[in-house]
C-alpha cells in the first residue's frame, strides 16, 4: 500500500525556509532553461514569420543567403513572365525583385555599430499613373503594416524603417536622413510585419536604391506569389534546369527558416550547456535538503515501516516528496521566466550578416519542458536520500532519543 501523497505535501510545508531556498535554486535553473528556449524560439519565429509558403524565392545557384546572391535583370524578367506567377487585382504579376544589401549604423543606447539590411522592393502601386505620387503597398508581403508616418512613394528617395530597429539605431526616426553613397534618403514611416525579420530592415523603392547603391541591374533575390503553391516542386525543377537562369528556387518560408538554423542551434546548445551545469548544482542542493528531511524524520520513518508500509513504499514516498519540492521550484521558474516573454532583443544573424531584432517567446511547450526538467532534477536528487530512508535499521531508529 502506498503512503498517501498528502503526507509529503504536509512535510514539504513543515520546513518552509529550507523548502523555499531549495525550490528557488531549482526555479532559477528552470528559469534560465526556459529563457534560453524562449530566445531560440523568438529568433526562429522572427525568421519563420518572414516567409509565406505561397511565395517562392529565387537565388543564384550556390548562394546561401540573399546578400551573397545575384540575379540579373534579364533573369528576373524571365521569372516575371512565367505563367505560374500569380497576378494581383490590377492584373500585374505579384513579383518583387529585391535589392538586398547591408549598411553599418551606430546603435542607440549602447556603444558600437551593427549592420542593418536594406531592401529595395518593387513598388506595386506604380501601375496606375495617378498612383505614382501615392504611397506604395506590399501585396506580396501581406504582413507589412505602416504604424506611423506613411509608406514611401514610388520613384522617390524615401524609405521606411522597421519599427523594431527604429528605436535601436541612430538616424531611423521619421524625418531623419540616411545617406547611401551620394544620395540622401528620408525616413517617412515605420512599419511592423507581424514580428518578422522584415521589422529589422529598411525598405525603399528598388528603382531608386539600385542606382544609388551602384548595383547596376543586379538584384539579390526574386520573390513571387505562386498561382498554385502545390506546383512548387515542378516549378522548382523547371527553373533550376533552365540554362538561361542559373538560379535555385526555394519556398520563401523554408528559405527564411533555414536562415535561422545556425544561430538558434548555437543558442539552444549554449542554453542546454548552461542549464545542465546549473542543474547539477541544484540537484546537490535538493539532495542536501532531502537528506536533512530523512535525517530529521528517522523515528517517523521507522514507525511507518513498523506499521507495515513496505520499504519500497517509503522510498517511493520520499522520491515523490523530492519531486514535489522540485516541481514547486519548476513553478517558481516558470513564473520567473514569464515576464521575459515579449522583451525585444537583437543580435547579428551571421547567415544574413545583419542585425535581427526579435522578441523572447515563452511557449507552452517550453514551460512544460521546464516543469519536466524540474521533476527530473527532483527525481535524481531524491533517489539516494529515499534509498537511505527505505534501508533504515528499524530497531536502532526507534530507540533513538
Amino acid at each position: 500500500m502506498p503512503i498517501p501523497i498528502s503526507y509529503n505535501f504536509r512535510n514539504v510545508l513543515q520546513r518552509p525556509v529550507s523548502t523555499l531556498t531549495t525550490a528557488i535554486g531549482v526555479g532559477l535553473t528552470v528559469a534560465i532553461f526556459i529563457g534560453a528556449l524562449a530566445l531560440a524560439n523568438g529568433f526562429q519565429a522572427a525568421l519563420a514569420e518572414s516567409g509565406s509558403p505561397a511565395n517562392a524565392l529565387a537565388l543564384r545557384k550556390g548562394a546561401d543567403s540573399e546578400i551573397s546572391s545575384g540575379v540579373a535583370r534579364e533573369q528576373a524578367d524571365i521569372l516575371r513572365s512565367l505563367p505560374d506567377v500569380a497576378t494581383g487585382p490590377d492584373g500585374r504579376p505579384l513579383v518583387s525583385p529585391d535589392l538586398v544589401v547591408v549598411t553599418t549604423k551606430p546603435r542607440l543606447g549602447q556603444p558600437g555599430s551593427s549592420n542593418i539590411t536594406v531592401r529595395g522592393v518593387e513598388p506595386t502601386a506604380a501601375a496606375d499613373v495617378q498612383a505614382v505620387a501615392q504611397p506604395v503597398t506590399f501585396p506580396l508581403r501581406a504582413q507589412v503594416r505602416i504604424t506611423s508616418g506613411r509608406a514611401f512613394r514610388a520613384g522617390s528617395d524615401e524609405v521606411i524603417v522597421g519599427e523594431r530597429i527604429s528605436r535601436r539605431f541612430a538616424n531611423c526616426a521619421i524625418g531623419d536622413h540616411i545617406r547611401f553613397q551620394q544620395r540622401e534618403f528620408t525616413v517617412v514611416g515605420h512599419f511592423t510585419a507581424n514580428g518578422a525579420s522584415f521589422e529589422s530592415e529598411i525598405w525603399g523603392d528598388v528603382a531608386v536604391l539600385m542606382p544609388a547603391l551602384q548595383r547596376d541591374n543586379v538584384f539579390q533575390s526574386v520573390t513571387f506569389r505562386m498561382r498554385d503553391p502545390a506546383r512548387f516542386e515542378a516549378l522548382k525543377h523547371q527553373i533550376e534546369s533552365d540554362p538561361r537562369l542559373g538560379l535555385q528556387l526555394r519556398r520563401e518560408s523554408e528559405f527564411y527558416a533555414s536562415q535561422s538554423e545556425q544561430l538558434s542551434t548555437v543558442i539552444r546548445f549554449m542554453g542546454v550547456f548552461i542549464t545542465i551545469i546549473m542543474a547539477v548544482g541544484a540537484i546537490f542542493g535538493a539532495m542536501n535538503t532531502m537528506y536533512a528531511a530523512v535525517g530529521s524524520r528517522t523515528r517517523e520513518i521507522a514507525t511507518l515501516l513498523v506499521l507495515g508500509f513496505s520499504p519500497a513504499a517509503v522510498m517511493m514516498s520520499f522520491v515523490i516528496e523530492s519531486v514535489i519540492l522540485a516541481l514547486l521550484g519548476g513553478l517558481i521558474g516558470c513564473l520567473l521566466a514569464l515576464p521575459i516573454n515579449g522583451i525585444v532583443t537583437s543580435t547579428t544573424n551571421f547567415s544574413s550578416f545583419s542585425e535581427v531584432a526579435f522578441a523572447f517567446r515563452v511557449t507552452a511547450q517550453s514551460l512544460l519542458a521546464g516543469l519536466i526538467f524540474a521533476a527530473g532534477m527532483g527525481l535524481v536528487g531524491g533517489f539516494l536520500p529515499a534509498l537511505r530512508a527505505a534501508r533504515q535499521p528499524l530497531a536502532q531508529s526507534l530507540r533513538e532519543n
Partner: protein, 398 residues
C-alpha cells in the same frame, strides 16, 4: 582548543552534506567563470588588432567593395608606410556546408610582409625553382608565391580538416560562384591571438581573374603607418579623399575594426551577466540552506559551547567562517577548474570566437563571489546562533 580546528571538526561532522554543498558551489563557480571567460574573450577580441594599422572599408558596409585604384591614392597620403588589401571570400566546403571557416583573397606580395610578425610557417611545399621574393616574405613561402591557385592554411584548420600539404581542396563559392580548386602550399601557426588560426589565405589575383572578371574590386585596405600617433588624422585624410567619389570610405584602427564585429553580438554580454547573477544567487540559496540546517542540528551543542564560556561574538564568527570555508574551497576548485579546463581544451565555439581564455581577474572575481556568498549565507544562521540563550539551547530536544 584551536578556533580553526573547531571549524574543521564541525565541517567534518556531516561529511556528506559538506561535500554535496562544496560540489554544488564548485559546479556553480565553474559555470560562473566559464561565462566570465566568454566576456573575457569578447573583451580581449576588442583589444586585439593593432593600433598602428588602419583599416579602410566602404562607408556603407563591409559588403560593398572599393576600386583597386584606391590603393595608390591611399599610399600617397603622407604618413602611410604601406598598403595591402584583402577580400572576404565566403566559400564553403562542398562536402559539409556547415563546416565554417574563413577564407580571404590577399594581395600576397604586400600582405605577407605586413603580417610577417603574426605568423610562423610550420610546413611548406619546397619551391620548384629559386625565385626572387619581395623583402619580408618567409623564403619557405616561395612555392605559394609562384603558383596562382596556391593557398596557405592555418594549422588548426589543417588538422581539423585532415588535409595534406600539396593537396588540392575545392571550395564552393557563395559570393563568387563556381568551384574553386586551391592547392595547399604552406601551413602557418598564429603567433598572435588577433590572427585567426583557422583561416585559409589565397591570391587575390586568382579571385580577381576568376571571380570578378578582372574588375579589381577590393574588400578592405589595410594601412601601415609610420607612427601610430597620426592614426586619427590619417584616417580622416583618407576618408576625405573619397568622400565624393563612387565609393565613400570609412577608415578606423584595426582594433576598432575588430571591435565592430564584437559589437555585432548586441546584447549578448548583458545576457551572460544576467545568467552569471542567477548562478551566483542559486548557489547562495544552496549554501544558505546548508548552513541553516547545520546550525539547527547543532543547537544544543552551541548551548554547550556557550556554557563553556564561548562568547556570542566568537560563536558568530565560527559559524560565519564555517560557511565561508565551504564556499571558498568549492569556489576555488570551480574557478581554477574553469580556467584550466577551458584554456586547456582550446575551445573556440567552432571558430566563432578566438580561442577562449579565462583571465586571472575572472578567477579572482569568482573566488571573491564564492567567499561573499559564503559569508552572506552564514549571516542569518550565525546571528541566530550568537543570539541563542543557553537555557533555550540546552532545553531543546532534537
Amino acid at each position: 582548543m584551536n578556533f580553526l580546528k573547531l571549524v574543521l571538526v564541525n565541517l567534518g561532522r556531516n561529511k556528506r552534506r559538506t561535500i554535496l554543498t562544496t560540489l554544488s558551489v564548485t559546479v556553480a563557480l565553474f559555470l560562473f567563470c566559464a561565462l566570465g571567460g566568454v566576456l573575457d574573450t569578447l573583451a580581449e577580441s576588442i583589444k586585439v588588432g593593432s593600433e598602428t594599422r588602419l583599416v579602410t572599408r566602404n562607408a556603407i558596409s563591409l559588403i560593398f567593395p572599393m576600386p583597386l585604384a584606391y590603393r595608390d591614392r591611399i599610399a600617397a597620403v603622407p604618413g602611410v608606410k604601406a598598403v595591402t588589401f584583402q577580400n572576404w571570400f565566403g566559400g564553403q566546403d562542398p562536402a559539409n556546408p556547415h563546416n565554417f571557416f574563413a577564407q580571404f583573397g590577399i594581395d600576397s606580395r604586400t600582405y605577407l610582409p605586413e603580417y610577417a610578425s603574426d605568423i610562423d610557417v610550420v610546413a611548406a611545399s619546397p619551391a620548384q625553382a629559386t625565385v626572387a621574393l619581395p623583402p619580408g616574405i618567409d623564403p619557405r613561402l616561395a612555392a605559394y608565391m609562384v603558383e596562382r591557385t596556391a593557398c596557405i592554411v592555418g594549422e588548426k584548420l589543417f588538422t581539423r580538416m585532415g588535409w595534406k600539404l600539396g593537396q588540392t581542396v575545392t571550395l564552393a563559392g557563395t559570393i563568387y560562384p563556381g568551384s574553386w580548386p586551391m592547392t595547399i602550399r604552406a601551413v602557418y601557426r598564429s603567433k598572435n591571438k588577433s590572427f585567426g588560426d583557422e583561416t585559409l589565405f589565397f591570391h587575390w589575383d586568382y579571385l580577381n581573374e576568376k571571380g570578378m572578371g578582372g574588375k579589381g574590386l577590393v574588400g578592405v585596405y589595410v594601412l601601415q603607418l609610420d607612427t601610430p600617433d597620426q592614426a586619427a588624422s590619417i584616417g580622416k585624410q583618407v576618408d576625405a579623399i573619397f568622400e565624393n567619389s563612387s565609393a565613400a570610405t570609412r577608415t578606423e584602427s584595426e582594433r576598432a575594426f575588430q571591435a565592430g564585429f564584437v559589437s555585432m553580438y548586441g546584447n549578448l554580454p548583458f545576457v551572460i551577466r544576467v545568467i552569471g547573477l542567477a548562478v551566483a544567487f542559486a548557489i547562495l540559496l544552496v549554501a544558505a540552506n546548508t548552513m541553516v540546517m547545520a546550525i539547527r542540528e547543532r543547537t544544543s551543542e552551541i548551548g554547550v559551547l556557550k556554557t563553556l564560556g564561548f562568547e556570542d561574538g566568537t560563536v558568530f564568527r565560527m559559524v560565519l567562517i564555517e560557511a565561508a570555508a565551504i564556499t571558498l574551497i568549492g569556489g576555488a576548485i570551480g574557478a581554477l577548474g574553469a580556467k584550466f579546463a577551458i584554456e586547456g581544451s582550446g575551445f573556440n565555439a567552432g571558430g566563432m570566437l578566438p580561442q577562449m581564455s579565462v583571465h586571472w581577474s575572472t578567477v579572482g572575481t569568482g573566488v571573491a563571489v564564492a567567499l561573499l556568498v559564503g559569508a552572506v549565507s552564514g549571516l542569518i544562521p550565525a546571528w541566530q546562533a550568537s543570539r541563542l540563550r543557553i537555557v533555550d539551547a540546552l532545553r531543546r530536544v532534537n
